[in-house]
């Protein structure tokens, strides 16, 4: 009986989705030649897919409703057990270290460049993780700080000849300042308004960069940004790529180190308290405004530095690199990986940036996949791939 029931439900879903997607998936009108293209095969694909996916959907929803309680602490995800287990952790880390050191020498320059991009995203994800994952502030304008970093380096270099290594901390600092400037006026806003306002800020910065030609050279952007020099030496293109690779690896390690320390400190706990319950957090003596500003500033710092590296890597920037969708991709890496979880965010960023690069055909499905990932993760696994596990303490009796 239940089986029949299930089949009927799936059949209904299948018919419903065939109806729903009919005009957009099946018909394509060519208004120039005045012809209609009927793509019936799409209808069958949708019907077939919906039939099975709806079954899977209902199964997963039931499973979720049954498990109910929050139990990440007691039932740690296997990945976490491996990470925390000293037996695996050391050899694992060593293997990763060796792989990383050898990477640019084993793989082509093309691969190394892709890896550099992915690592920049890891840094951005980790930075945004402070704001969203720890402090629970949905910042949809995060890419603005990335732009601040990139433009700082490009413009400071253009006008004053400032080099990469000076621009790097400066980019971080300017990012932090921008974070505070953005954070200050939005302190009083509720979570969902915050999302829209930060989105607005991000777009304002991009639109200003696009329109203010005298300052930012408009849509044509800034070219010939120098790559980092090595103690004043000019390196070959190949050597520079390797050099940038190691630089970003070092920066990522630095980021992990700092964020890990922050997370389990008085500051980090205040962020999580703020995320969990703003009122109770204040009632515990935590200054809400200051805590939020800290999160904005410390989150934006990494975006600023990431921006400097990005500008140095691509040697060319224009506003098109800093659209709202960039913010959404970074958000996606954090959500997929696991909000608040450092290993999670690293895996999330690697997966989301590398996968589309290697599955070329997959490229055009990139954004639609990101959209699905956001919805599905929220519905089925809000903690992400690798859920954050809080630190435990041992006491002697």
């Amino acid at each position: 009986m239940t089986a029949k029931n299930e089949l009927t439900k799936s059949l209904m879903a299948s018919i419903w989705f065939m109806f729903l997607t009919f005009p957009i998936m099946v018909i394509r009108v060519n208004t120039v030649t005045d012809t209609i293209e009927w793509r019936w095969q799409n209808m069958f694909a949708v019907g077939f897919g919906a039939f099975f996916l709806s079954m899977l959907w209902r199964y997963l929803i039931r499973k979720k409703e049954m498990s109910g309680k929050k139990d990440s602490q007691s039932r740690k995800s296997p990945i976490y057990q491996v990470i925390r287990d000293q037996k695996f952790a050391l050899p694992g880390l060593a293997a990763i270290a060796v792989f990383t050191i050898l990477f640019p020498h084993i793989f082509s320059m093309y691969q190394t460049n892709i890896m550099i991009s992915a690592l920049i995203y890891v840094m951005l994800g980790l930075g945004l993780n402070i704001v969203i994952g720890l402090a629970g502030l949905l910042d949809l304008g995060y890419v603005a700080f990335f732009a601040v970093g990139a433009y700082s380096y490009a413009l400071l270099n253009l006008h004053y000849g400032i080099t990469f290594w000076i621009a790097l901390p400066l980019g971080g600092l300017l990012g932090a300042v921008a974070g505070i400037i953005l954070g200050y006026p939005v302190l009083r806003l509720r979570g969902d308004y915050l999302a829209i306002v930060t989105l607005g800020f991000g777009e304002i910065i991009r639109l200003v960069m696009e329109n203010w030609n005298e300052f930012s050279f408009g849509p044509s952007g800034i070219a010939n940004i120098p790559k980092p020099g090595f103690f004043g030496m000019e390196l070959s293109l190949h050597a520079t790529t390797i050099y940038i690779f190691y630089t970003i690896v070092a920066l990522v390690i630095f980021t992990i180190f700092v964020i890990n320390r922050l997370e389990n400190s008085r500051i980090g706990r205040a962020w999580i308290a703020l995320k969990d319950d703003e009122i109770a957090c204040q009632a515990m003596g935590i200054d809400k405004a200051r805590t939020k500003l800290r999160a904005f500033a410390l989150g934006a710092t990494w975006a600023g530095m990431g921006g400097v590296v990005f500008a140095a890597k691509t040697t060319f920037i224009n506003p098109a690199s800093f659209t709202i969708w960039e913010s959404v991709i970074i958000l996606c890496t954090v959500v997929l990986g696991g909000m608040g979880s450092i290993p999670g965010v690293i895996c999330g960023a690697m997966l989301l940036i590398l996968l589309p690069e290697y599955l070329r055909d997959f490229g055009e499905f990139r954004m639609i996949t990101f959209g699905s990932v956001l919805v599905l993760m929220m519905v089925f696994r809000p903690g992400g791939m690798i859920e954050n596990v809080r630190k435990t303490y041992q006491f002697k009796k």
């Binding site: 419903w16 109806f19 729903l20 997607t21 005009p23 957009i24 998936m25 018909i27 394509r28 009108v29 208004t31 005045d34 209609i36 799409n42 929803i61 979720k64 969203i132 629970g136 949905l138 949809l140 006026p185 939005v186 009083r188 806003l189 509720r190 979570g191 969902d192 308004y193 999302a195 829209i196 306002v197 989105l199 607005g200 800020f201 777009e203 304002i204 639109l207 200003v208 329109n211 009122i279 969708w325 959404v328 958000l331 959500v335 055009e364 499905f365 954004m367 639609i368 990101f370 959209g371 699905s372 990932v373 956001l374 919805v375 599905l376 929220m378 519905v379 809000p382």
Partner: protein, 302 residues
């Protein structure tokens, strides 16, 4: 001052504001009921426009007379937008009713991204020309230099939709249930109101007005693409917040104020920063009067 120019800007702003109002209604109604900013609402409006274009093109090609094409295309657009709105709620929001607000918001962003790219992949990333469904009426000829017939139709349609909606909410049973649910979901459920149904109806009604807005603007501007919902959605959201989110008259008022401000700003000052201006406006309202023009300021109950 050139009075005619002023008047043109005024009516241009009114037309713009009417469109914003049609979209803003969906935001404000959904927010009123489940306190969610439905990021994907702009996409519903875009899907309405696409469905309208596809259906009207097909019908025109098979040689149907224009008035029939217009009516059928509009109906198809509304039906499809409603169906998408309904399905979206079931998939992306219903399972998250008890989840933290951040989760539902992220899900909404995902939905928006999904729908945009779904249309992009299934149709095209290019701009498509949209036929002008509303003809220039002959009898209106003498006044057409002040306000064109399509603009007139847009404004009239908005007025009619507003009246119908007010009627729906004030006097029908489902309208009462909607008001009850927006005040206290739990209490409404205890009193025997089917909250799930109310939420579905809210999404459907909001989607219908968005679809109407979608076809009207598409035929007015003459082209559409998959991205049209994003910026329009944001602006309608600004309008809803400006008026006081959750308040229906507020959404209309906010939309008109935004439409006029934009129109005058572009007409007298500069059109370069038009979009920056809308965002700036939003940021300023939220900072200085987060409850909007007609919204009540609320202290959170503890």
């Amino acid at each position: 001052m050139d009075l005619e120019y002023f008047f043109q800007l005024f009516l241009g702003g009114l037309t713009r504001g009417s469109i914003y109002a049609l979209i803003a209604l969906g935001y404000t109604m959904v927010y009123g009921i489940i306190q969610l900013i439905n990021f994907a609402h702009g996409e519903i409006y875009m899907i309405g426009a696409f469905t309208g274009l596809i259906v009207s093109s097909v019908l025109t090609m098979v040689g149907m007379p224009i008035p029939a094409v217009v009516i059928l295309a509009a109906m198809a657009a509304i039906i499809y937008s409603c169906s998408y709105g309904y399905t979206m709620e079931k998939i992306a929001y219903k399972p998250l009713r008890k989840a933290p607000r951040l989760s539902a918001l992220i899900s909404a962003i995902g939905m928006s991204l999904f729908l945009q790219n779904y249309v992009l992949l299934a149709q095209t990333s290019d701009f498509l020309p949209f036929p002008s469904l509303i003809p220039d009426f002959d009898f209106w000829e003498p006044y057409a230099h002040i306000i064109t017939s399509p603009e007139l139709v847009i404004i009239m349609t908005t007025v009619v939709v507003m009246i119908l909606l007010t009627f729906l909410i004030k006097f029908t049973k489902i309208g009462k249930a909607m008001r009850a649910t927006s005040q206290d979901k739990m209490m409404a459920a205890l009193l025997g109101i089917n909250v799930d149904k109310v939420i579905s109806v809210t999404f459907i009604v909001g989607s219908a007005t968005a679809a109407i807005g979608g076809i009207l603007i598409a035929s007015h501007i003459g082209q559409i693409n998959f991205y049209m919902g994003f910026i329009a959605g944001i602006k309608a959201f600004v309008a809803a917040v400006l008026g006081g989110i959750g308040s229906i008259p507020g959404a209309v008022l906010g939309a008109l104020v935004l439409g006029w401000t934009e129109s005058f700003f572009a007409g007298y000052i500069s059109s370069d920063y038009e979009d920056v201006f809308a965002f700036l406006f939003l940021v300023l309202i939220l900072i200085f009067r987060p409850s909007g023009i007609l919204g009540r300021s609320e202290t959170q109950k503890v």
